[in-house]
């Protein structure tokens, strides 16, 4: 049941995409949104629960002040207007992972509205308008047992873990983003990347996508080029990595184009994203959407942030990523485009931390955008999820510039680090990767290369100096790359030219 897909470039000859993102961020507060339970990730199921987050009869919520403050700080960082009067609302629907039969959320009176976030893709700036930022509680987690897919369909039975129920969740909703054209998938990714950087700078969430701290619902629609109306959108739920955000938009564009090309109509629905194939599949149709019967939550008093407090929070905001990047660009002496590469790769903080650990900025950039980006891509993960720390990368760079290893050995050392064999120095030691000095072994290898290749040696002696490369190669081969090429070359020259 694979979908027909239109070639990506071809999609853009006929259609204009509009995207939109709803991002859920679990705040890193000590306790839950409406009770005192811990929010630590990974505890035994249902050990971090109490009458309130289990929704036991009679229990009542009490709002977490830190979560409210964090939400306002996020709103401020996104240039939002902070409401002087805001209320929680009940979103009513039945599902086992919402213990009260409703989710306490915000509806028509959110804490923050009307902000924006500028993102850069390939040197161009796209302004993403923020519709609203609101605060709600997370749901529990269902575990469907017995089926092949892990989804409820086909499962024998389901278990519910309420540890996550009631963790403060901030929802950041963009307005529709038109005009990105072919760059739409990258704009989507750049937006989430930049948002993530802001959340990290604010220190309000750990933003670990693999732990579900940040989850995206990605809306995509296509309209024929020149059309005055936007097309019908689909909402791809729970897209949980930066790379997946980009892929989901790309896939939906190609799929929807095929539907429209065939004269069909796009169904307004939620879709599931599949990490393995990068594809989406149909979820529940929005046309049979639940009526959530929102109404103001009578168990909580309205939030009325006073202006003075909001201004104090604004003044105390940390340096935001855009400003920070401008500063780092100056410090590192790189162009906006080079900085954009770092941003899109999610590498700004990684490089900055690597530089802070003692590496030269140019080397740090080279490693994160080169070898490490390649590894992340091969592994299908985000750069920050690689099993190597900026400090280790700095250590690796240090070993190279000290001449202890060369670039090729450094890549082998990196293999070891990623395989969990320890830090770079440790791996160099245990794998015996250090560059050979002018040792007896190297002298023997050089002399063996001359003896084994008399024709080439003669050519060099006869003045064809560039032929020396073949001899260097032979030495590198016998030493399995551990020799320093420059040293080898010098030793060969001493033997063949100077004497």
């Amino acid at each position: 049941m694979s979908d027909t897909l239109v070639d990506y470039d071809e999609v853009l000859t006929r259609y204009e995409p509009v995207i939109g993102l709803e991002t859920h961020v679990e705040l890193g507060t000590e306790s839950k949104m409406f009770c005192g339970c811990s929010t630590t990730f990974g505890a035994e199921p249902n050990t971090q629960t109490c009458p309130v987050c289990l929704g036991l009869p009679g229990s009542l919520p009490a709002a977490n002040a830190v979560a409210i403050e964090s939400t306002i700080r996020i709103g401020l960082a996104l240039g939002c207007r902070i409401a002087s009067w805001s209320r929680f609302a009940r979103k009513n629907y039945f599902y086992p992972d919402i213990p009260k039969g409703f989710q306490t959320s915000q509806y028509d009176e959110p804490l923050c509205t009307a902000g924006h976030l500028d993102v850069e893709v390939d040197g161009e700036t796209y302004r993403v308008e923020i519709e609203r930022v609101h605060l709600e509680e997370d749901t529990g987690k269902n575990l469907h047992v017995g089926g092949s897919t892990g989804r409820i369909h086909g499962a024998d039975h389901s278990l519910v873990d309420y540890n996550r129920a009631g963790i403060p969740l901030v929802e950041i909703v963009t307005r529709p983003i038109p005009g990105a054209g072919a760059k739409a998938p990258e704009v989507a990714r750049a937006y989430v990347t930049e948002l993530r950087e802001i959340l990290l700078a604010l220190g309000v969430s750990e933003v670990r996508m693999e732990q579900g701290n940040l989850r995206c619902d990605v809306n995509t629609s296509l309209a024929p080029i020149g059309s005055l109306e936007w097309g019908t959108r689909t909402e791809t739920k729970n897209v949980n990595s930066l790379r997946s955000v980009e892929r989901s938009v790309r896939f939906e564009m190609r799929r929807q184009a095929a539907v429209l090309d065939a004269g069909g109509r796009v169904v307004q629905e939620t879709r599931h994203f599949h990490e393995d194939s990068g594809s989406t599949s149909t979820g529940r149709s929005k046309e049979e959407a639940t009526d959530y019967r929102y109404f103001p939550e009578p168990d909580l008093v309205p939030i009325a942030p006073d202006e003075e407090w909001v201004e104090k929070l604004r003044a105390a905001l940390p340096e935001l990523p855009a400003a920070r990047r401008a500063r780092l660009r100056d410090e590192w002496g790189i162009s906006p485009t080079e900085m954009a590469w770092l941003v899109n790769a999610g590498a700004v903080e990684l490089v900055s931390d690597t530089v802070a650990a003692g590496a030269d900025p140019a080397d740090a950039r080279k490693w994160w955008l080169g070898e490490l980006a390649r590894r992340a891509n091969d592994a299908g993960t985000d750069l920050g999820d690689l099993a190597v720390t900026p400090a280790q990368v700095a250590e690796l760079i240090g070993l190279v510039s000290a001449g202890t290893i060369n670039d090729q050995l450094a890549r082998q050392a990196l293999d070891g680090v990623l395989a969990g064999e320890g830090g770079p120095a440790q791996v160099v030691e245990s794998r015996g990767l250090a560059v050979m000095g002018e040792s007896d072994e190297l002298v023997a290898a050089v002399e063996a290369a001359i003896e084994g290749n008399p024709d080439v040696a003669d050519k060099v002696r006869g003045g064809k100096v560039q032929a020396i490369g073949a001899l260097v190669g032979a030495v590198m081969k016998t030493t399995r790359g551990k020799a320093d090429a420059a040293t080898v070359k010098r030793m060969l020259e001493e033997r063949l030219i100077s004497s």
């Binding site: 036991l56 009869p57 009542l60 009490a62 039969g101 109404f295």
Partner: protein, 509 residues
């Protein structure tokens, strides 16, 4: 141990028991046993309790007596027994809210008020019957049993706190906690001859009260005397960080107001008689006997020195429809958690049904007809497209009712009305007519919707059945209710030569 008889004990007020316990005249075990014996003898007829744990009650009483014997400093309520409406969550003690859907549930925690009463040393006799999820005015909507009015066992004890009212009126508890959403403390108190007070919204923690309508629910005392009501109210009042709507203000001084009021001097007090609650042009549906007792009581207030005037509160006419949109709307959401997933009854989970079917069956079989009626009503009122016309409009009416009160407070200190348009009706008389049942709340709804305090105090008999007099006061001025009610109580007791309950003939024998 003493010459106090069991009958003396169960005829005593809680204040008298408190004094006797403190002086050592009686012990808590003796007092508790007297009530348990009376429950064993009479509750078969009355049906006030859903759950009585004699062993636990005697153990708690024994602990108080032991502590007293050791000379420990105990609070004034230590050792006094009491009953809790089954809507109050009690740790380890079955709590059903009168519903089958919670059959067998033993909560893992105590409601704040239950914890406070436990800490005060009171002894829990048991949990009392109620209309399912507090929805009703006769306790006939209980999923478990009928509760009978001790004044006439063919009649209803009021509701929804009918188990509490019947228990106290029948001497099966010295006092009890009820909850009031639209009148569920005051109306049962009125029809069983008790004092019942609905505190200012937010002054008693709702944490651990199984929610019916969150913006209206308040717990309060149901007692034999005004002083008892004030004492019990003080014990449960006060800010609770677990309830966001709890008011952060000092615990009001109520017992003192009751004692002062009993002195009988109300000179300077300005009393407003609400025209819309049984007054001229608004007397349809009111028993003539109720209106007669009300008029006599207003005259009594004047004789005690109060200045009485008529006050018109036009929006009160809309209280009933507004209430029956707001309360069911909130209830439809509050009761969504009863889905059979985590606790209570689960129906149809036989491996052949999916989640939605099991949830639907659980609710179909777990809820009674009145609860379903209100869930449907509320679900409809909150639906998109209808929200503004129903819930939104009802909230506006609520604002108007609050404004009528605010305007009235410019001219008067308290507002008064009958508590209920009628005396207790016969069991079964209104079960097929929900609207007639709803009309029982006519007089109590305005104070609920505005969140202001209101007390019901006995004011005589009509056809041999108790009539209640309601005193409403501004928010946080609960002390005024107690003062006025105590003055009336003292004057009436003096005139008739005995307390109101002592006038009960052939008590339910």
């Amino acid at each position: 141990m003493s010459d106090v008889t069991a009958t003396d004990i169960t005829a005593s007020t809680a204040a008298e028991l408190s004094r006797a316990l403190q002086s050592g005249e009686v012990g808590s075990v003796e007092v508790t046993q007297a009530y348990l014996d009376r429950i064993a003898a009479q509750d078969g007829t009355i049906g006030a309790y859903l759950h009585v744990d004699a062993d636990a009650a005697l153990a708690a009483a024994g602990a108080v007596d032991a502590a007293r014997a050791r000379g420990e400093e105990l609070g004034p309520l230590a050792g006094v027994p009491l009953a809790l409406k089954d809507v109050v969550v009690t740790e380890g003690v079955p709590t059903t809210s009168g519903s089958k859907i919670l059959a067998g549930w033993r909560p893992p925690y105590d409601a704040t008020l239950a914890a406070r009463l436990k800490a005060a040393g009171t002894v829990l006799l048991g949990k009392t019957n109620m209309d399912e999820f507090a929805m009703g005015s006769s306790t006939e909507n209980s999923a478990y049993q009928v509760t009978r009015n001790p004044w006439d066992t063919d009649r209803i004890p009021g509701g929804s706190s009918g188990g509490s009212s019947a228990a106290v009126a029948a001497g099966l508890a010295p006092w009890a906690i009820g909850t009031d959403t639209g009148g569920s403390i005051r109306q049962p108190a009125a029809v069983t001859g008790l004092v019942g007070h609905k505190p200012t919204y937010g002054s008693v923690s709702r944490y651990g009260l199984i929610a019916f309508s969150s913006s209206l629910d308040q717990a309060g005392p149901m007692t034999r005397t005004v002083l008892d009501a004030a004492l019990l109210h003080e014990a449960i009042a006060g800010h609770d960080p677990l309830d966001s709507t709890s008011i952060d203000s000092p615990v009001p001084v109520l017992a003192e107001a009751a004692r002062r009021g009993a002195g009988g001097d109300l000179s300077g007090l300005k009393v407003g008689v609400v025209t819309e609650l049984g007054g001229e042009g608004h007397a349809d549906g009111y028993d003539p006997g109720v209106l007669a007792r009300f008029a006599e009581t207003v005259a009594l207030l004047e004789s005690l020195g109060a200045e009485v005037r008529q006050v018109s509160c036009p929006a009160f006419d809309l209280a009933l429809p507004a209430y029956y949109l707001i309360a069911p709307s909130e209830a439809s959401s509050n009761l969504a958690r009863f889905d059979g997933v985590r606790y209570g009854v689960r129906v149809g989970d036989d491996g052949g049904r999916d989640l939605d079917e099991v949830m639907a069956l659980t609710r179909e079989q777990g809820f009674g007809p009145e609860v379903k009626r209100r869930i449907i009503l509320g679900t409809y009122a909150l639906s998109s497209g209808y929200y503004e016309a129903y819930y939104g409009q009802a909230q506006k009416v609520r604002t108007l009712i609050t404004r009528d009160f605010t305007t009235a407070w410019d001219d008067v200190d308290v507002l008064v009305s009958p508590t209920s348009p009628t005396v207790a009706w016969s069991i079964g008389a209104r079960v097929d007519d929900p609207v007639a049942m709803y009309a029982a709340d006519l007089c109590t709804l305005p104070a609920s919707l505005a969140g202001v305090p209101a007390i019901s105090v006995p004011c005589g008999l009509s056809d041999g059945l108790p009539v209640g007099f309601q005193v409403m006061a501004p928010a946080l001025a609960d002390d005024r209710c107690y003062r006025v009610a105590a003055a009336l109580e003292a004057a009436q007791d003096a005139a008739r030569g005995h307390t109101f309950l002592a006038g009960m003939e052939n008590p339910h024998s």
